[in-house]
């Protein structure tokens, strides 16, 4: 009897000691994550296995892997949009990195007007994608932009329209997005540049390292993790870029600037084919997941040298 009372008291003590507070604190966050992230993602996976087109309800129902076999084997637009997405991501991220790093190195130096120079370099990052598009649309517009300049300078009749050709549209969109994206790298890399220990440069100079060697073995070496992380983030963002391309080129002309997310948007907003759109979204998700994992592994992100 005494033993039983002792056990009960111990159990009660354990129960009293169980700390509910962390769970209650985390509870609302977990609920919100489930409601606004886990549930929508699960819904996309669910619909990717369905025929679901609001305009053709007679076809709605379980599709199995039908949507996936269609996109893999019968949908040339999936492959062409994926190819353009790859070109877009590689072109944008590599140019933004190179030019952003160059600007970061410049504004890291000490010179008069550095504050103003930094403000000018970083300003485009504060501008939304749609507003960026409006600015560049005015520049590319034959009446208000380059065409007008061409006419004023007497170089032509003002009929210059950079967005009218497939190559022109790609280059024009590339430049507009570079203008917005370069500051992202410049800001991140400048922050990391300021933490490079000066002793390393001094030691390199003692070892007679030239400017290139100091840049290669001290600066770049120090920036490696920042570069890997920022390029990965930017690659994912550029992959998912819809605002600028949608408003600047609409994916044209002739689908030449249609990325995979733009194609998905078309399937949802014009065709109302949500089942197939969900399958395309799952494909994009898997591609990004595989790319991210592979990229971090190949670059040995976070590993000590």
């Amino acid at each position: 009897m005494t033993h039983a009372l002792t056990v009960d008291a111990a159990t009660m003590q354990r129960r009293r000691k169980f700390n509910y507070a962390p769970y209650l604190l985390l509870g609302p966050t977990v609920l919100l994550l489930v409601a606004f992230i886990a549930y929508p993602i699960a819904t996309v996976f669910y619909y990717s296995l369905q025929h679901y087109n609001v305009t053709e309800p007679w076809y709605n129902g379980f599709a199995g892997l039908g949507n996936f076999t269609q996109l893999l084997f019968r949908d040339s637009k999936f492959w062409s949009s994926l190819q353009f997405t790859a070109e877009w991501v590689v072109g944008e991220v590599s140019l933004q990195l190179i030019l952003g790093l160059a600007l970061a190195l410049v504004v890291n130096e000490t010179f008069r007007g550095r504050g103003l120079a930094r403000a000018i370099v970083f300003a485009p990052w504060a501008i939304s994608g749609v507003l960026t598009t409006e600015i560049w649309l005015l520049i590319y517009n034959p009446v208000t932009g380059l065409g007008k300049l061409e006419r004023l300078l007497g170089l032509g009749n003002g009929n210059l329209a950079p967005l009218a050709t497939t190559h022109g549209a790609f280059l024009s969109a590339l430049v507009a997005e570079l203008w917005r994206g370069i500051p992202f790298f410049a800001i991140l890399l400048l922050a990391d540049l300021q933490s490079v220990p000066q002793e390393l440069y001094e030691a390199a100079r003692v070892d007679r390292a030239n400017v290139f060697h100091r840049f290669r073995y001290v600066t770049l070496s120090h920036l490696k993790d920042a570069i890997v992380l920022s390029t990965l983030l930017r690659a994912v963002w550029e992959f998912n870029n819809v605002d600028l391309l949608y408003t600047l080129t609409g994916g044209g002309p002739a689908d030449s600037t249609t990325t995979l997310p733009l194609y998905i948007a078309q399937e949802a907003t014009i065709s109302h084919n949500f089942g197939y759109g969900a399958a395309l979204t799952v494909a994009a998700f898997v591609i990004l997941l595989a790319f991210s994992g592979l990229y971090l592994r190949l670059t040995r992100f976070g590993q000590e040298r």
Binding site: Y20, A21, L24, L25, G27, P28, L31, L32, A35, N53, V54, T55, E56, P57, W58, N141, P142, V143, G147, R151, N157, G158, N159, L160, A161, L163, A164, T165, T166, T249, G250, G251, G252, P253, A254, D255, T258, Q266, E267, T269, I270, S271, H272, N273
Partner: protein, 454 residues
């Protein structure tokens, strides 16, 4: 002492738990508040005293907002127990907004709907048939028969879901001053049109014979132009094949593409949507433009009434005049509405002669109410008068695009729009283009018939 510490610990913990619970309650309250807000968004009873609030979605918010606000104000004066909550939605996103609202279970009570996506809303069982309400209404017999027929044709089951309020017809706008200066008369045939476009082009002076819509909405204009040129009696022949794949159709598409490729339209036109195209015409860069009556007031603002005119679309080689019926635009009542009687009262009011005339005068479009059609302002708009005369002519072929096909939007905007740009930039032949276009429509028609009979 230990007991005191324990009580302190418990008190602290209790306060912590209370705090967490309070935060949780606030968050849940927020979420609950959001959801209840959504539920009431479809227009529930407004307050007490038997007053009813209905939600009305305008499909051209901004442009048509002042006209609707005046009509709503008049309506609320006559019907003090009904409040109309106006929501202006942009024309480019209205279909998407309707689909989202239907999926979320909170569509408006009544909304402006176009023929172009009527079939999609009917397929979702989102709308209420209006046949019985119309037949017992004072409006019965006062609505244009052609518009009523079109509204019924565009629904898969042939019922009346969209109450016609207005329509607008294709119009060829041209610069009268340029034509006069060049000694040309109005282009009434396609042969004249192509010849005049060439004559009036002076690319060195940044002046072009035509402004072409190669971007958003371009295939719809091209399809209509093709029908005016080829003058078929119906869109599908007796065997169910779409008639737009002929060599004559290909020849027309090639001639339109040649306008672009020969520099008789601005180079930027391959991406032109509505705004860019209208802006080119209004800024004096183009001698001709194909659009509808809806842009008439824009041209008056930019050019005045003396420098341009609007006429019916040119006549093709057969010499037979054609009028493509563009479908209707008008209010529809949503099945989820808890106040369908109040919503119908509003529809009736908007379609009454006075209000219908007012709305269409503001928009410079064709009223659905036949009493409104006889108002003097209709006769003052030469472009509209010209089109109405063609509609009344005995030898005119009246034809309508197959808006009722669920794939209509996909065929026009997703599949064919990029290919039209390929024809313009020379990477696809006109014949391959029209053949594919016809094949897609033929397949869509077969699918439609297999599921809807007929």
């Amino acid at each position: 002492m230990a007991g005191a510490q324990g009580r302190g610990w418990w008190t602290t913990r209790r306060r912590g738990i209370t705090g967490v619970t309070a935060i949780g309650a606030v968050l849940l309250g927020l979420v609950a508040g959001c959801s209840s807000g959504t539920a009431s968004g479809s227009g529930s009873a407004a307050g007490s005293g038997g007053k009813v609030a209905i939600t009305f979605w305008d499909d051209n918010g901004g442009v048509r907002t002042p006209a609707w606000q005046k009509i709503i104000s008049d309506f609320e004066k006559q019907n003090p127990n009904i409040t109309v909550n106006y929501v202006g939605v942009g024309s480019s996103s209205i279909e998407q907004k309707y689909n989202t609202a239907i999926a979320g279970g909170s569509p408006p009570d009544v909304g402006m709907v176009s023929s172009q996506y009527l079939a999609s809303l009917v397929a979702q069982k989102a709308l209420v048939p209006l046949d019985s309400m119309y037949s017992s209404s004072p409006l019965n017999g006062k609505i244009d028969q052609a518009m009523l027929k079109s509204a019924r044709t565009d629904a898969p089951d042939g019922k009346l879901y969209l109450m016609p309020l207005t329509t607008t017809f294709d119009t060829l706008y041209y610069r009268t001053d340029w034509f006069k200066k060049a000694g040309l008369s109005a282009p009434t045939t396609w042969a004249d049109f192509f010849k005049d476009a060439k004559t009036l082009t002076n690319s060195g002076a940044n002046q072009f014979g035509f402004t072409l819509r190669g971007g958003a909405g371009g295939t719809l204009q091209l399809l209509d132009a093709l029908l005016y040129y080829t003058a078929p009696k119906s869109f599908f022949d007796g065997s169910g094949q779409a008639v737009i794949g002929s060599s004559q159709a290909a020849s027309f598409v090639q001639q339109m593409a040649d306008l672009y490729r020969n520099g008789e339209t601005p180079q930027a036109d391959i991406n032109n949507g509505y705004q860019q195209m209208v802006s080119e015409f209004d800024q004096g860069e183009a001698a001709m433009m194909q659009h509808n009556l809806g842009s008439y007031s824009n041209h008056v603002k930019a050019l005045g009434t003396s420098k341009f005119a609007g006429i019916s679309m040119p006549i093709g080689p057969s010499g037979t005049p054609v009028q493509v019926f563009p479908g209707d635009n008008g209010p529809a009542i949503f099945a989820k509405s808890a106040h369908q009687a109040a919503a119908w009262k509003f529809v009736e009011f908007a379609d009454s002669a006075t209000e219908n005339s007012y709305w269409n005068q503001q928009a410079q479009q064709v009223p659905a109410n036949t009493d409104a059609q006889s108002q003097s302002w209709v006769k003052q708009n030469a472009a509209m008068e010209n089109t109405l005369q063609r509609l009344d002519a005995p030898n005119t072929i009246v034809i309508e695009d197959p808006h009722y096909l669920p794939e209509f939007g996909t065929i026009m905007d997703v599949d064919m729009a990029p290919l039209w740009q390929k024809v313009l930039n020379g990477s696809m032949t006109a014949q391959a283009f029209v053949t594919k276009w016809a094949a897609e429509f033929t397949t869509a028609q077969q699918n439609y018939k297999s599921h809807n009979g007929g």
